[in-house]
Every structure is written in C-alpha cells, then in structure tokens.
C-alpha cells in the first residue's frame, strides 16, 4: 500500500500543503489561510494538492486519508493569537514586587529586530501591549535565592487571595505562576499551583494553571514569565485550532494524531503539554528540510537562506547540529523557549526602495509591500518602487510569467515610477539604477549571512542553500564571490519549508539552569565534586524525557539522548553550548575533557586573544540540556536516472534581454518543470517555474543531480 506524508506551512496569508509519497514525489496545494478556523484553509489546500496528484478528494479522499502515515502542522496559529491579542484572559501570580513584569517588559524588548538608526532615534521607542496588564497580576510574598534556598517562605494567604481575585474579580480564564529562581527550586510554584487548584474547587471554577518551573525552567525571569504567559494565553486557543484540523483529517480516515513542529526542530503530538514551544515553528521547516537534505547530499555544514516578500531568514547547520537560540525574540518579547537559531532582516522582493531626501542615499526597507510583493507593476495602488520592480525592469522576472502567468503586470508603470523616484534623482539610467538597488539588497543579504556565520566558521566548509519563493531569484546575487563550498537550490524552493516539515524526527529538548563554578585553586578531585550536580541534572532531565516520549508510545531503546552543557569563563554573561564529550563527570580526566572541549570551541569562536591566562581561569556551567531524539519514517528523496547534460529542446523557451553589469545581454530562458536530473545550464540564464525563478548570472553554471537538486558553481572555479 502506498503511504503518504502531509505537511503544511500556514503563513499569515497563504496555507501551503505538501503531499509527499514514500518515493519522494511531491505536490503542493495552496489556499488562503483562514484565521477564524484554520482547518478550512488546510483542507482546501490539501484538496488542491490531491487534485495535482490525480486524486479526487471527494471520491478518493477517504482512501487517501487511511494511507496517511503522518500529518504535520507548522504555522502561525499561536503567533496570530498573540498578534491579534485573541488569547484567553490570563492572570499572573508572581513574586510580590514584580507584578509589572509583563507590563513593564525590558528596554531591550522595545528594539528587537530594529535597525541601528531606529534604535538611536529616541522617538521610535514603543513597548508592546502587555498580554497581562497590571490589573490582572497579583503578588505573593516569597523568595528563593539563586541556590534554591527558600529565604522568605511563601505567604500562602497571599496565594489564596490572589487566585480568588484573579478568578472571581478579574474573571481570568488562565493563570500563570512565575516566582523568582523557581528554575532552581520549584517548591513555591508547585505549592502555589496546589493552592490554586484548591481555590478553584472552592469557587467552582477551573482554569488552566501554568507554572514557569514546568514551562521554561531556566534563568531570566522576564523571559520565563513571557514564555509562561504565552503558554497560558495562547496555547489552548491554538490547540483548539489544531484539534479542528485533526478532526477534519480524521474525517477522511486519517488514523493517527496530528503532529506539530517545535520551535527547536522536531515534531510532537498536538497534545504536547508545552505547546508554546511550537509558537515559532514557522521558519523551522526550512532548516529541518535542510538538515534532512544534508544527509542525502552528504554535507554536514549547510547555510540555510530563505527569501520571501518581506524578510530574509538565515541559519547555519554546523557538523549536522542545528543552531539553537535559548532566548529568542517573539512579538517584542524575549522568551525562554529554545528555538532554532534563525536570524532575519527586513529584505525581500517586496522591500521598498527610497532615496533619503536629505542625502539622496539609497534606502532599502526595512518595510516592504508585504504580501503583495509587486504592488506597483500589478497596479495594486502602491506607488513606491520595490525590489521586484527592479527584477522586472532588468528582465530577470518574466512579465508574462508572474505567479505562473496568473497575474498580469504593467512593466511601464514600474519603469515610470522607478525613473521618477529613483533613477532621475540619482542622475542614473533607469536600468543602471535598478541594478544598483539589487546589488545593495544582495550585499545586505550577503552580509547578514556572513555575519550569522562569521564567528568561528570558515565559509569554504559550508554549502549555501537557497529556498523560499524568491530564494532562487536572489541566491546567486547574495552568494556573491564568497568561497562557499557549493551553492544549491531545489525546484520546490517555494514550498521547501512545508516539505521540511515532513522530514522531521520526534525530538525534545529539556534545559535546566545550574550554578557550578570551578576555580584554578581547586584540587582535581574537588573539581569533580563541584561538577557532580551536572550528572544529577542530566539524569533528571533524561527521566522527564523518557517519560514524555514513553507516553507517546516510544520504547526506551528507540530514544537517543545527547548531553549538553552551557559554559563560560567566570564573570562572562554569555555562555556557549558544548556537547559533553563524556557521559558523566566522575574523574579528573572527565573534567579536563569537558574544559578542553569548551576551550576548543571558545577559541574557535573568539580567537586565542580572548582566552584568559590558565593560571587565573575560572569556569562556570550555567545550564544543562538533554536532547532526546526518535527517528521517524520520512519521505525519501527520490533518486533519478541521469539524463544527458543537454536539456530537452522542450525545456528551452528562447532568449530574453537581461540587463547585467551595465548592459543588455541575451539570456537563455528555460522551463524548470522540463529540466531533469543530469541536465546542465550555463549562465546567463533564467530558469522559470510557476512558483519560482532561478536567475543564473553569466559567471555561473547549473548542474542537476540525481535527486533533482540544483548545484551551482562558478565557471572559473
């Protein structure tokens, strides 16, 4: 029996569903996202995909559903709940004196993702609207110190009164409990949770209670509070959306539970208790797809780059290890939620192009035309030129093939606007000005990539992968002449993130803060003793993970555990992640091995000049982590017979003038759908598909391998 995998990427505007069969054949359906009930957009998109696959959803839907191996949701439902402030009314019970913790935020939260010119311009400061206003917060007198010692016992009457007021006076529908240093000792939070349940029984009203020690047990109370509040505020609303989708799928015979994607990669059942960890799963699919792709092409180091209409997202997989950000920004809040380390800048095909009125300097973005990335030439009412206008004017985009030819464009409008607003004030020819603006964008993207990788990594060891609807369009522009090991893209670049969603393993991470320090004056045996808490913390986290995965039906022998520490030199604020080279710390040799591994990584990242004199060096381990993984069945990347290097004549669409390096050239135009593994194409060329365009400048050459992956090299390499 054929088996299928379905994954979706529900964006703010469109929901993409990709259906992949076991042989790796895939089709993509698209439908508008339906925020009120996401199952509508999901099923419409699935039906379109099935039609492409030759399956009649009305007649054959049920038999298809029964053959579904996995169905995965990635998307923005929880994000939208926060954006739209449509979550449940949430109350906060917190350490007395910190009732403003959510309303006050932190100064640095007012400029998450902002450009430096925006950060320095004082007038731009703005806090987000708090999810928990002060009125819905109650204080509890209690304090636990950094070692976990209760210094001020919890005043239980405060808890009773606070919970009662939140339930009865404020009519809250969820309660978050966040006490300082609860990540070291959860005693007060656990007891407060018990009292809350007692009070709920007394008043006859039960609401979800989220404890920060269970949701995000790591240091930094502002971020831990934000994470716990998001969980209380948004996860149940989002879960209801996911249950609706699951119900629809089960209605067509899908026999399993719906899965969703955690922000740090990996899938989980939608009943997973800490669902907020899936809040930022949108960009994860791309990295996970890249991770899977890396195993197929045999490359451990991949730079992932995703170009959309609005933003350029990048992340690097090093030695097969996914980058993790433990305190990412989320909707102008920092959250203690491990997330794949993906950094973004406002640069995409819809990015606005302007000239500064004071200096006549070219200004790209950071704002963009968003979901309508060609607003001038599709005459959507906007009159500010965008990057896509430049692409169209230069002949890179085909005016007859915009969105597969579905949308008519008016190139003259682009020309007139570009001339008036950009070229004439710069005293440049329109086409030269357009090429100049594209190059500035490429540099912005290139710099972003290089800077995200720069610390301690050699670009010559990395393969650059471009995806996203506009990834192939700009890939070779931002690849530039940096010495990448290779440059690759895929024909399904536009739906790569959704495809990546189908390629994930079950993977959970658990973090726990610890406070250990070893100083140079300690004997080797004392150092072992000082690091002993790591062993206990690892074991405790592994027990939790075995239990969680066990409840999902996995056996112990299916689960692989990786032990990780976060280390720094005494005094530093930032630590670095180190995969422990030893399973436990039981001997001086184990300590030395751990320190050696840390120092190797540290000096790689920050150079030798940053290393202290060993005679004075003290080390702190601030956090431990365990990564648990269970392999799952995934779609195969289909292997094809290689055809000849010369593409079939049907694939050739002719020539089109393209403006490059200051003059017009005739570019070869190819139809991507008709290119097959084994074919090779020389630049200058444009390879067009209905949902993406690969632009190949003159100095590049494209080879399609047996997995239908496009390898691009410099002709002079």
């Amino acid at each position: 029996m054929d088996r299928y995998f379905v994954a979706c990427d529900a964006g703010g505007t469109m929901t993409d569903v990709i259906v992949v069969d076991e042989q790796g054949r895939s089709v993509i359906g698209k439908a508008p996202t339906s925020p009120a009930d996401e199952s509508v957009g999901y099923m419409e998109s699935l039906e379109e995909a099935l039609e492409y696959m030759g399956i009649d959803p009305k007649r054959e839907g049920r038999s298809f559903g029964e053959k579904l191996e996995t169905s995965i949701y990635t998307g923005t439902s929880m994000l939208n709940t926060v954006i739209n402030m449509s979550g449940v009314k949430t109350g906060l019970l917190t350490t007395r004196g910190f009732e403003d913790i959510n309303a006050q935020g932190r100064g640095s939260q007012t400029f998450i993702g902002a450009q430096w010119t925006e950060i320095t311009h004082m007038q731009y400061r703005k806090h987000r609207i708090p999810l928990v206003p002060r009125k819905q917060a109650r204080g509890v007198t209690e304090r636990i110190d950094m070692f976990g010692t209760p210094v001020i016992p919890m005043y239980e009457d405060d808890v009773r009164q606070g919970v009662r007021e939140l339930l009865c006076d404020e009519e809250c529908d969820a309660i978050a409990i966040v006490f300082l240093h609860s990540y070291v000792n959860p005693q007060h939070e656990l007891r407060a949770g018990e009292i809350a349940r007692e009070v709920m029984a007394e008043v006859g009203r039960t609401v979800p209670v989220e404890l920060s020690c269970e949701v995000a047990p790591t240091a930094r109370e502002v971020s831990r509070a934000n994470a716990t509040i998001v969980q209380a505020y948004a996860s149940n609303t989002a879960r209801e959306q996911l249950f609706r989708i699951e119900k629809e799928l089960q209605g067509i015979g899908y026999p399993h539970s719906l899965k969703t994607v955690l922000g740090y990669g990996g899938i989980t059942n939608i009943r997973y208790p800490r669902l907020f960890e899936a809040a930022m799963s949108g960009p994860v699919g791309g990295l996970m797809g890249a991770k899977y792709l890396s195993t197929v092409i045999g490359e451990d180091n991949i730079v992932c780059s995703d170009v959309g209409g609005t933003s350029f997202d990048a992340g690097a997989i090093t030695a097969g290890v996914l980058p993790i950000d433990r305190e990412p920004g989320f909707q102008d809040m920092y959250v203690n939620v491990p997330m794949l380390g993906i950094t973004s800048i406002g640069a995409g095909t819809g990015t606005y192009i302007r000239l500064d009125p004071a200096t006549n300097r070219i200004k790209l973005g950071p704002d963009s035309a968003g979901g309508v990335p060609g607003p001038t030439f599709i005459e959507a009412g906007n009159t500010i030129p965008t990057i896509n206008d430049a692409n169209l004017l230069l002949g890179i985009l085909n005016e007859d093939n915009y969105l597969g030819g579905k949308v008519k464009v008016n190139k003259q409008v682009s020309y007139d606007l570009f001339k008036e607003k950009i070229a004439d004030p710069l005293e440049m020819d329109v086409y030269e000005a357009a090429e100049t603006c594209l190059e500035v964008l490429n540099v912005m993207m290139r710099e972003h990539l290089v800077r995200s990788l720069m610390v301690g990594h050699d670009l010559r060891e990395y393969v650059l992968l471009g995806y996203g609807g506009a990834g192939p369009l700009h890939l070779l522009g931002y690849a530039g002449d940096y010495p990448w090991k290779a440059i690759v893209t895929v024909p399904h670049a536009g739906a790569f993130s959704a495809w990546g969603g189908a390629c994930m393993d079950y993977s959970y991470r658990r973090h726990k803060s610890v406070a250990t320090m070893i100083t140079p004056d300690l004997s080797p045996e004392m150092k072992v003793g000082y690091l002993a808490p790591l062993n206990m913390a690892w074991e405790a986290l592994e027990d939790e993970l075995y239990n969680e995965l066990g409840s999902e039906g996995f056996k112990r022998e299916q689960i692989t555990m990786t032990r990780i520490v976060y280390m720094k030199y005494l005094g530093q604020l930032d630590d670095i992640e180190v995969v422990s080279p030893v399973d436990t710390i039981t001997s001086p040799a184990d300590v030395d091995a751990l320190i050696s591994e840390y120092e190797d990584q540290y000096t790689k990242m920050f150079t030798l000049v940053a290393k202290p004199d060993p005679a004075y060096a003290s080390y702190q381990v601030t956090e431990v982590c365990v990564l648990a993984k269970v392999d799952t069945v995934k779609p195969k990347l289909r292997r094809h017979e290689l055809a000849s290097k010369t593409p079939a004549s049907d694939a050739y669409k002719g020539k089109r003038p393209v403006f490059q390096q200051g003059r017009w050239h005739d570019a070869d135009i190819w139809r991507m759908e008709d290119l097959v593994p084994g074919n090779e194409v020389d630049g200058l060329a444009v390879i067009e598909a209905s949902n993406t365009t690969l632009f190949v400048p003159p100095q590049f050459h494209v080879r399609i391998d047996e997995h239908d992956i496009y390898w691009i090299t410099r002709k002079d390499a």
């Binding site: 910190f98 403003d100 932190r106 100064g107 004082m122 400061r125 070219i362």
Partner: protein
C-alpha cells in the same frame, strides 16, 4: 613623493575644512555620485563589521554592565581619527575615541613608539581626553600593504576602577589622585597581545582584576575581528575606494546633520537653563574640603545661523567641585555627539555631525573645563553633570522642531540617572565591586504627540535595558523584593514622561557585609528634578532609602508584611513596615553607606522617570484614568493636578461634567495667583539684589559663573538691573 605623515594629514584636513566648509575639502562626493550602489553596500558592510566586533567583544567581556547594559562600543576610524561608523552600544564614546586617536598623532606617537599592525593603545585618563577611569578606551591601527588605512577602537566600562571607593562611579573622589588605575595614552601591547605588565598593573590596582582583564580581552578580541574584516573589505573593493569612500561617509553624515537642522529647525538663539546640586555637607566624605553643598550651573545656549550652522555655548558654567563630577571638554563634546545622535544625526552615526557645529569651550576652571586651572580635579563620574547638560539638547531641539511643525520629533528632557553599586564578598565567596544595571533603563521623555515609554531609554546609551533581576542576583549578595513601575515618576503634563521603576533589595548571602553606594551619574540631591517643558510640572527628586540592622528576619518568620515599593513620598513604606537601628528614610543622595550593610538590611533604590510636556490640565482625562487603573498615578494627582474627577464602577471612570468644572476652577485659581511680569520681576529683583534666602551653594555657583564668564555675568547683571560691581 613621500606619503604625508598622519600629523601632516591632520593639518591638511583642518586647512581644507577651513577653506571649503567641507570635511577633507570634499565639495562633492564623487564615489557616492558615481557609484551609489557600491557606496551604500560598503557602508552596510562596514556597519556590520563594527557590530560583528561588538558581538565578539561582548561575548568575551566580563562586565554585565557592558554586555547586558550596553556600556561598550566598537568603532572604525579614518587614519586621522574621525569615526567612520560605530557598532551598537554606548554612543557617548565615538567622539572620545576619535579624539584619543587624534591625540596619539598630535603627541608624535607615529614617530615614537610608532604605529604597527597588532599594536594596542589605551587611555582612560581624563587629562588626555578620557571620560573617567572605568571607561577604558582602546585603539589599534589597521594596516593594509604597509599603509595605515584605518583604526579599530573600543570602549568598555569595567566593574572596578581602583578608585578610592570601590566600584566604578567615583563621585566621592576628592581629586584625580583618587580616581584609580591610570592608563595615560599608553601603548599597552603589540602583536595582538597585552604586555605582561598590563595584567600585573590591573591586578595590583583594581579590586576585581579577573573581571577587568575579561573586559580587556573583550576589547581586544573585538578590535582584532574588526581589523580582519576590514582587510577583507579592502581586498574586495580596493584600497582606493576604501580610502575615498570612508572619508565621504564622514562628510555625508555632516551634511545629513546640517540638512536636518536646515529643514526642521529655525535660525536664531535659544538658551536653556539647567541646574544640578550635590548636597554633601554633613555627609560621609573622604576629605574635609568635601564637607560642602555644591550647585552646578549647566547652561546651554544654541545659536543657529541662516546656513544651518549650529553653535553651542557653555558660557556661564560654574566652577569645579571637589568631587568626581568634573569633565574634560573633549569628553563633553563626545557627549554632545551622543545627544545629537538621538535627535538629529542618527542616520549615519559617526564624527560627521561634530563638524556641523561648533562648541565654545566652557570657561577654564569650570566643571566642564577643569584642568587648566585645577589640574588635580577629579573626574570619577564625569558623566554626572554632562548627561544633565545633554538633556538640555532634547528640550532645545524639541522647541525648534515644534516651531517648524515637526511635532512627532519633539521630546521633553531626559530622566536623571542614579546608580547603585555594591562592593564586598559575594554569596559565591569572592570579592566583587560593580554597578547593577538598574540605571540603564529610565523612562523616555514625553513626546510631542504621546507619553514617553516606561523603563525604555537611557541618555548615555540607546541600548537601554535593566536586564533580569535573576542575573543581577547571580553577581551580588542581594535579593530583589521589588522592581515595579514607580507611579507618578514621569512628571505631570499633557503627555507624561515614561515612568521609572523602584528596585527594593534585601541584602542576603554576604559573609562579611557589603558597601552600597547610591551614586550620582546625573541626578539631584534636593532641588527639583525633571522639571518638564511647556508648562508641565516636575516630579519629586530621586528618593532612595535604606535600613541597617533591621527586624526583617523577624518579620519574615512571623510572615508579616515586608517592603516591595517606595510608597508615598510623604509616608514611605520603609518607615511604616520596617524597624531598624539605622533607618534612613530620606537620605540626601548620592551617598555611600557609612557601615557595611548586613544580611536582611533593606535598600530602596528608585530609577527616575523622564520629563513631561504641556499643561497637565490638557491631559486627556481618559489617559489619566487609564493610568489610575494601572496604578501608575494616584487619585490625588488625578484630581489635584490634572483636575480629573472620577467615579468607581469596578474601576475608575471619568466624570466628564465634574472634570470640566474642576479644571475650570483650577484655571481660575491660577489666574487669581497670577501677577503681571513687571510686578514679579520687581519683587524677584529685590530678593536677588539682597541675596535673600540664598544658600551658600547658590551664591557660590552664581559667583563662579559670573567670574569665569564675565560676558555672562554682565548679561545677568543687566537682566536684573544690578550694579556693575555686583557679585554673589
């Protein structure tokens, strides 16, 4: 022809600027005009290079104040010192770093000891342009093919400067000899490594050498990273382009600043008066000469000519003080560039805007130009008066923007800044001295169209942030009992300033006690602070308090109420809830505790909100009620200051009719109090002439201002119609 020396290049640049009005004589910007794309691309790359240095350096550094509080910065400079672009971080320093490099050239270091790749130069000495001893400024030359083509620089604020009092905010320093470790324009290393003596000096002259050396390594790692990336940029774009374009970036930025002034301000002369006190009489001081109250005159006069030329004057600045609150003209100028970047020149932040204005150096012997007259003056916390002077800039330009209708650019004055610093053996068993991050996040000033933001701005760094309490507790033996928003801390006006917050700490975990220094980094002791503009009312001065030898442990055991907030000014919570052998409910700040604080002692440390704008009677009643319901203002303030009357319906609701009535009554009361200006002037003149009700500090301030700036004195006498020989 031999390459001109850097000193010759400096002189040539000066001449070209004088002759053309354009930096480097650049009457056009050929690289930009010919190739705007590459020009923009390289700017973007160089900015990223600086930020890369920041990321590397901060991760290596050891000061939370540098990393989480943003008190560090890396920059790229022209060979002659002008900053080309800077990283994020403490924007008060690029001017200083530029001046330091220039100073190395002026002092002949090119000849001896010479400039070579891998050399490390540092300065923290205010006599040579440094700001104060904890701010270590570093510069490393960048060579390309044996030619010095640029400099990498960095500043970071270390946890302890080795001054007479522990920590880094030496407001109590009586003279420069007590300012601590001194690096006076020195070459401190070569081949990307510090000389062995450097670490030895840090270890013998600071109390926290591991932390200070960690910061040194951070500065170095960032500068090396910056240099290597600059090499890559030159490899790609060519040396000629780099040399030309980097100069154009500086001149372009000057033009941007001029253009902003031309299009958004009006020509003319505007003056802003501002005062700061430092009430130390009867307090714990180091030397007898410090048993005195001081008052600073911080006048700012701005003159804008028809060509948008801007001239700043500090004429009238009062004399030096026997505390660490004197600043060199170089450092003050850098502070001015910082303030300018917040409101005028934020687009391409570098040395360019400095060339768009002139500063009339403060009179010799004043707090803003001490060393010519008083070479021993201390600059332990030179920022203290300087940031308050910088705050004038917001208000002055706020008025100018308003005159041209750019309401959205208007800002009231900044918040005052009070630091908290601890020193002693921590709960981890080692000695530590240093700042908390509290002061790095004040409220932001009221804007011309809305309130300021709470806990979101810091005048000395746009990276304003107070970090996490749990992180602070990892460093110091204190436990937070509170960190909430402080009601009514943003003044009263149509738009209020962003609110500040109050940290309440309980000392805990120290085996031997800790020192607490409530430091002055720009605050007032007794006089009105944060006065507001356009008819706004001020809030009360920063009011810290502490209790030593307390009953807190007993309160905890009995589960009695503790203290989590400052409480009403007239009845602070520390008085109502805490008993102590030594309870200072309203001590005059700044101060250093006389005795070591012990476990269960209490500190209440407020962080100021910013200034308000406009008449409080014009505040939207709904905004007043919104603040009431959030607990951000009190019913008394709502009723008496804003005239807003309310009813209760589970929460406060505006009573529109009663509000209208009450506001009308308040206006009538104002009219009843009002007198014609001439009448007021006559009465005040009599008081001035008789020096009536003037404290010694007031007279001393006016006396020194008039003596140091005779022109200012003459103007003052003329205004009050006083005899020519009148003196205070």
């Amino acid at each position: 022809m031999a390459e001109p020396t850097l000193l010759e290049q400096l002189r040539s640049n000066e001449k070209a600027f004088e002759e053309t009005g354009n930096l480097f004589g650049l009457q056009s910007l050929p690289r930009k005009e010919k190739d705007p794309g590459t020009y923009e691309a390289v700017w973007h790359i160089l900015s990223n290079v600086c930020n890369l240095a920041w990321e590397v350096g901060c991760k290596v550094s050891s000061s939370p104040i540098a990393v989480e509080g943003g008190d560090a910065l890396w920059a790229l400079h022209l060979p002659t010192g002008e900053a080309i672009c800077v990283s994020r971080g403490i924007t008060a320093h690029p001017g200083l770093l530029a001046a330091m490099i220039r100073n190395f050239i002026e002092l002949g270091y090119e000849e001896y000891p010479g400039f070579n790749q891998g050399d490390i130069f540092e300065n923290n000495d205010p006599h040579y342009g440094g700001i104060h001893s904890p701010d270590f400024d570093m510069a490393m030359p960048i060579f390309y093919e044996d030619k010095l083509v640029a400099w990498a620089s960095c500043v970071s604020h270390v946890s302890d400067s080795g001054s007479v009092t522990p920590g880094s905010v030496g407001f109590l320093n009586p003279d420069c000899f007590s300012d601590g470790i001194c690096i006076s324009m020195e070459k401190v290393g070569e081949n990307d490594a510090f000389y062995p003596w450097y670490e030895k000096r840090v270890r013998s002259r600071t109390r926290t050498p591991d932390f200070v050396m960690g910061d040194a390594r951070g500065r170095l790692a960032g500068c090396v990273a910056l240099r290597e990336r600059v090499h890559a940029v030159i490899d790609k774009y060519g040396l000629d382009f780099f040399v030309d374009a980097t100069k154009e970036y500086v001149e372009d930025s000057r033009r941007y600043a001029v253009s902003r002034v031309r299009t958004q301000c009006v020509p003319g002369r505007i003056r802003k008066s501002q005062f700061k006190d430092l009430a130390m009489k009867g307090q714990h001081v180091i030397l007898n000469k410090q048993d005195v109250d001081c008052l600073f005159n911080l006048p700012m006069e701005v003159e804008i000519d028809a060509d948008a030329g801007v001239r700043f004057s500090l004429r009238g600045a009062s004399g030096t003080v026997p505390f660490g609150e004197n600043i060199s003209p170089t450092a003050l100028k850098s502070g001015l560039l910082n303030g300018y970047s917040h409101i005028i020149g934020f687009d391409m932040f570098n040395s360019g805007p400095e060339a768009s204005w002139e500063v009339e150096t403060a009179p010799a012997g004043s707090w803003a130009n001490p060393f010519e007259v008083d070479y021993t003056a201390s600059s332990g916390v030179a920022w203290a008066p300087a940031v308050m002077w910088m705050s004038n800039l917001y208000e002055v330009f706020g008025r100018l923007f308003q005159m041209r209708g750019f309401v959205e650019e208007m800002a009231a004055g900044a918040a005052t800044t009070m630091t908290a610093e601890f020193a002693g053996v921590t709960q981890l068993g080692y000695y530590l001295a240093g700042l908390t991050l509290e002061q790095a996040s004040n409220g932001s000033p009221a804007r011309g169209f809305t309130d300021g933001e709470n806990s979101a701005w810091c005048i000395y760094t746009p990276n304003a942030d107070f970090g996490n309490a749990e992180v602070t507790e990892l460093y110091y033996p204190i436990m937070y009992l509170g960190r909430n928003i402080e009601p009514d801390s943003g003044g009263y006006g149509r738009f209020r300033g962003g609110l500040g917050h109050t940290a309440v700490w309980m000392v805990y975990g120290t085996p031997s006690g800790i020192e607490y220094q409530c430091g002055c980094a720009g605050m007032r002791s007794k006089i009105v602070s944060n006065h507001g503009m356009y008819g706004a009312y001020p809030t009360w001065p920063d009011a810290p308090s502490y209790a030593h030898d307390t009953n807190v442990q007993e309160l905890i055991e009995a589960q009695k109420p503790l203290i989590h907030e400052r409480g009403p000014a007239t009845k602070p919570t520390i008085e109502t809830n805490i008993e102590a052998a030594d309870l200072q409910a309203n001590p005059s700040a700044p101060f250093l505790t006389r005795e070591l604080l012990q476990n269960y002692d209490i500190i209440v440390h407020p962080i100021s909100g910013a200034q308000a704008m406009g008449d409080p009677l014009e505040r939207d009643p709904e905004s007043v009620v919104e603040d009431l319901n959030k607990g951000w203002t009190s019913p008394r303030v709502a009723s008496e200051i804003h005239g807003v009357q309310t009813t209760m319906n589970g929460e406060y609701v505006v009573d529109s009719v009663a509000t209208k009535q009450r506001r009308s009554e308040i206006r009538e009361e104002r009219k009843a109090r009002a007198v014609p200006f001439k009448e007021w002037w006559d009465a005040e003149r009599q008081k001035v002439a008789a020096k009536e009700n003037m404290a010694d500090a007031v007279c001393a301030m006016w006396r020194s201002s008039m003596q140091l700036s005779p022109e200012y004195g003459a103007e003052l006498r003329s205004f009050w119609d006083l005899p020519d020989d009148f003196e205070f």
